[in-house]
Symmetry: C2
Subunit: 155 residues, 2 copies
Amino acid sequence: MVADMGGGDVGSGDRGMGNSAGGLSIGRVAEATGMSVHALRFFEREGLFLRPIPRTSGGQRVYDQADVDWLLLCNRLRDSGMPIATIRRFADLVRSGPGNETERLALLRDHEQAVRAKIAELTADLAVIQDKVRTYERHLREGTAVGLWAPTPPA
Amino acid sequence: MVADMGGGDVGSGDRGMGNSAGGLSIGRVAEATGMSVHALRFFEREGLFLRPIPRTSGGQRVYDQADVDWLLLCNRLRDSGMPIATIRRFADLVRSGPGNETERLALLRDHEQAVRAKIAELTADLAVIQDKVRTYERHLREGTAVGLWAPTPPA
DNA sequence: TCTTGACCTAGAGTCCAGTCTAGAAAATAG
DNA sequence: CTATTTTCTAGACTGGACTCTAGGTCAAGA
């Protein structure tokens, strides 16, 4: 967990990024989110951030904690099967400010249903797999071959 | 555009596939499994069947119910996240006959654990998403903006 | 200062799991 | 028999989500 940013011993101006104002380099954000720096730049190209990520005078990206929080939410959405295109639509809605909360809610509710459905499907798949596992266990215990796939299964 | 077919019409035994011996055309198997005929040919190229699929004298594939059953299991494995390469390893084990049941069991157990882990992850993701949904619902009910992503989130 | 190591861009490449195409032959319905 | 539908092959193509490359620039420690 690399997330503390508490008592700030401020240097001076904002040169560099190991500072107190919440400025995080791309590498630190990668660590904090588990994403690769490549993936972070890809995310930006795809318009998935809620704001244009600011740069240092030298052109390097400076993130803050809100960016990290957003990325952590994005990871939840992505890991649970939301396509990048949909995350982008959500980001677009958030970016365009208040007034479209109903749309954002609808999008999230749709995804919630999709996740519930996926869990249900996996649970059904799991039952089938467990059944196979139990069949093999019984076979190995008892030396029978009933219910196993044979090279040339009995008609 | 029917070209003449010369004299190559050698008499052969099994015409057609709507017969009694359980012979199924690729189209019927596609229907029965929910896969496309393209996917079925792809599956075969990838060596995922338990046997070489036999052909009619005219070169068309003839499946049987055991093939369909195997495909239905494959679909469970695939849908639950098993990569094609792993399904192929499993098929290879089954094809090479008795004696490797321990390996097959290990493969299935590993996948069982993977599916359990995925369900756990999705359940955690779902909690986060539900939380967001509830936040938006409250916002829309009460007209507050607490906890919502703003275009420029408060530092 | 010098030297690493982190970072920059644009764009090409990778992997997975199919999907689609073209042109031809086979099966089936009328 | 004819027309329509299905199937055949090899191989090119797709889409999603990154990942990596090349050729630099920037930042920080000894």
